[in-house]
Amino acid sequence: MDENALIHDAQNGDLDAFNRLVLAYQDALYNTALRVLGDEDQAADATQEAFISAFRHITSFRGGSFKAWLLRTVTNACYDELRRKQRRPTVPLEPATEDEEEMESPRWLADSSMTPEQIAEADELEHALQHCLDALPTDFRTVVVLADIQGLDYSEIAETVRSPLGTVKSRLARARLRLRECLQGFRELLPSIFRLEDGSHP
């Protein structure tokens, strides 16, 4: 896939070319929205909004990282969603049961090679991490999601969240420290997260 050619065609109104870009990036955008919003339906809505907005404003894309540009649109959509949520807080029609039955949904389709034990472990890890992510201020959460989940570098994050590099650096450090503090509470539940890979120490 020649991304630049697709972007060029999309800028000239080729919806088919744009939809090929959608297919390439929809997982990244959806995952970002999911981690920022912590809700699957809202994440899907934000992702759809982001792609519509991206297509409408694609002529304003002037080069650089297209992924970072798309992530900016989804970040903005997430902020809009959060603002809406603050204005109109809603109560779910079907509250979560005590045994967390909603977790039985086939959400691990992304990696079908996982064993049931690994799935259960990852499930717990995901819950713990999402809980800790939700406890972060939105700006911190966005930065840490972009850095550690989407793998963007600092300059791409600065471009995405439209903040100076120093602010990104500072928010990321604070977010990681707070997450670490929060995850301490899950130490007994999630011993596996502390069995981390070795060799990255300088």
Binding site: D16, D27, L29, L34, R56, L109, L129, K169, L183, F194
Partner: protein, 234 residues
């Protein structure tokens, strides 16, 4: 955590992402070898990042491909479209003001000579006219016995008044050759009655720019819409 230790934590976080410059990186790594507390913070940050990286990437629950009807999106227009649109709007505006100027100014000029200037409050001509009118008013209100002397004065003044009139063509250029832009007091004057201040070619050029820019913008829109339909019919 103190402010200083947060600065260290920030640098450790950047070191983890290899975002420190070589000098800072070397300095911090040297400190890591000797300071146990710093090493703990570094390890905490590393473990947190590893945990986040282990989060599975979810597959999107559905395809987010756009359908023009469902998304109600319009095709993005080329950048030149807005340039043509602005050019057309600007030319139309200028054309309007040019027409207005050409229509209004000759009419103003055809009003009685002193009316526009006094109407516009230019140069205090009212007071000057009043001062100039006073001698005549004095003659009119003078008693009848003084009329003969007045006639003598008028008779002697007539040749003097005629002299400048005879010399005038030699000194002053004809009005048709060089219309005056201001009077002897330096005040702006209106164009001669029936004469438009802007030449017709200005209006023609502005009209041409407005029409051609609007046509170009319309064509671009039409072409984009047609391409859009072709793409989505495929």
């Amino acid at each position: 955590m103190t402010q200083t230790s947060f600065r260290d934590a920030k640098n450790l976080s950047a070191l983890l992402d290899q975002q420190l410059n070589p000098a800072e990186s070397a300095r911090l790594q040297k400190r890591l070898q000797t300071e146990a507390e710093l090493r703990d913070v570094y390890e905490d940050l590393r473990q947190t990042r590893s945990a986040l990286r282990r989060l599975p990437q979810r597959r999107a629950p559905r395809n987010f491909v756009l359908k023009p009807s469902a998304a109600r999106v319009r095709p993005p227009l080329p950048r030149s479209f807005s340039a043509f649109r602005w050019a057309s709007a600007l030319a139309s505006l200028l054309l309007f003001f040019s027409f207005a100027a050409n229509a209004a100014l000759p009419r103003l000029a055809s009003l009685p000579a002193n009316a526009p200037l006094s109407g516009l409050g230019m140069g205090g001509s009212d007071t000057q006219a009043a001062v100039e009118a006073e001698p005549n008013a004095g003659f009119e209100s003078a008693p009848a016995a003084e009329e003969p002397s007045l006639k003598i004065v008028q008779a002697t003044a007539a040749p003097q008044a005629a002299e400048p009139a005879l010399e005038a063509p030699a000194v002053m250029p004809p009005a048709e050759q060089a219309p005056p832009m201001s009077d002897e007091r330096g005040l702006p004057t209106l164009p001669p009655p029936g004469r438009a201040p802007l030449p017709p070619w200005t209006l023609i050029v502005l009209g041409g720019v407005a029409i051609s820019s609007a046509s170009a913008a319309f064509l671009l829109r039409w072409q984009t819409d047609r391409r859009w339909k072709n793409i989505n019919i495929k």
